[in-house]
């Protein structure tokens, strides 16, 4: 299975990096709203089947290592 985990700051957490990127967009006259969020994508492959048990393990990995639940949210995509 191919897994893609997307991690980004929670909505109410300030993202200074995103704000700087937003200001750069404006300086290029790109018509985006200045509220930009810079997150990260973590991609990996794993042997096995997409079962509820597997998703439980994956959620634990996301909460323990790949994201910090105090400041970040995550979601993932699983493809064969």
């Amino acid at each position: 299975m191919n897994i893609r985990v997307f991690v980004n700051y929670k909505k109410n957490v300030l993202d200074p990096q995103g704000e700087a990127v937003g200001r750069a967009m404006q300086s290029l006259n790109f018509p985006a709203h200045p509220h930009v969020r810079v997150g990260k994508t973590i991609e990996f492959t794993v042997d096995g089947q997409d079962t509820p048990e597997f998703r439980k393990t994956l959620d634990k990995l996301c909460n323990d290592l790949l994201s910090n639940p105090v400041i970040e949210d995550y979601r993932y995509e699983i493809s064969q």
């Binding site: 957490v13 300030l14 993202d15 200074p16 990096q17 105090v70």
Partner: protein
């Protein structure tokens, strides 16, 4: 080995020797460097998780160091009431480990700030208070991600339990409520972004770090 202060070394730690020097040479307290792969802390009476860039700050600051074998020993040590202090990257590691509440994100100024920093001392414990340390201390900072964040309920808890140790006089990083250092509720785990181990020698900007490290060791 006899009672000593254990300073944990991770790949990328760079304040481990300064912390060791501050205890061993300045405070004349036996100290020992503990490699992050070590599973035990020996006869440590206190633990320092030093500053630096453990594991290159990959993923998030402190995110990978928290899984090192030595950190499992530190967690056990703290759970049994042992004193632990995280400085700078060490503070980030303790937050990632869940030993301290909250998290540290990128400075709002987007700069790595390396400067002298005056801190307001808060009345927190029998040793971390204005009477012992004075109203204010000058302790250098050197970080890019020292912007302390916690949710409203968490902040209320910190205030209620007097868990805030220091606040910045002039906020260098956007930290919530100017928070520069905190402790856990039990009062045996401490974390701060400023570097007390860099304020112990006559050629340092101040020697206020000496009283601060003594407060940490005080019974």
């Amino acid at each position: 080995m006899d009672m000593h202060v254990a300073v944990i070394q991770f790949p990328g730690s760079n304040c481990d020797q300064d912390a060791y020097h501050a205890f061993a040479s300045v405070l004349k307290t036996p100290a020992k460097l503990v490699w992050h792969k070590d599973k035990t802390l020996g006869d440590a009476r206190a633990v320092i998780v030093p500053g630096g860039f453990s594991f290159g700050d990959y993923l998030r600051c402190g995110a990978i160091a928290r899984f090192s074998p030595a950190m499992q020993a530190v967690k056990e040590f703290a759970a049994n009431g042992g004193k632990v202090m995280g400085i700078c990257n060490g503070f980030q590691i303790l937050c990632e480990s869940g030993l301290l509440p909250g998290a540290l994100i990128r400075n709002n100024c987007l700069e790595f700030r390396c400067q002298e920093q005056w801190l307001k001392v808060e009345d927190s414990t029998a040793h971390f208070n204005k009477e012992t340390l004075g109203q204010r201390v000058n302790i250098p900072i050197a970080h890019g991600e020292g912007n302390y964040r916690i949710d409203e309920a968490g902040l209320a808890e910190l205030e209620k339990n007097k868990q805030i140790l220091f606040r910045y006089e002039e906020n260098p990083n956007g930290s919530l409520c100017d928070i520069a250092g905190i402790r856990n509720k039990a009062g045996n785990v401490f974390g701060m972004m400023p570097h007390p181990e860099r304020a112990v020698e006559p050629f340092h900007p101040s020697q206020h770090g000496v009283a601060l490290l003594k407060a940490f060791l005080a019974e």
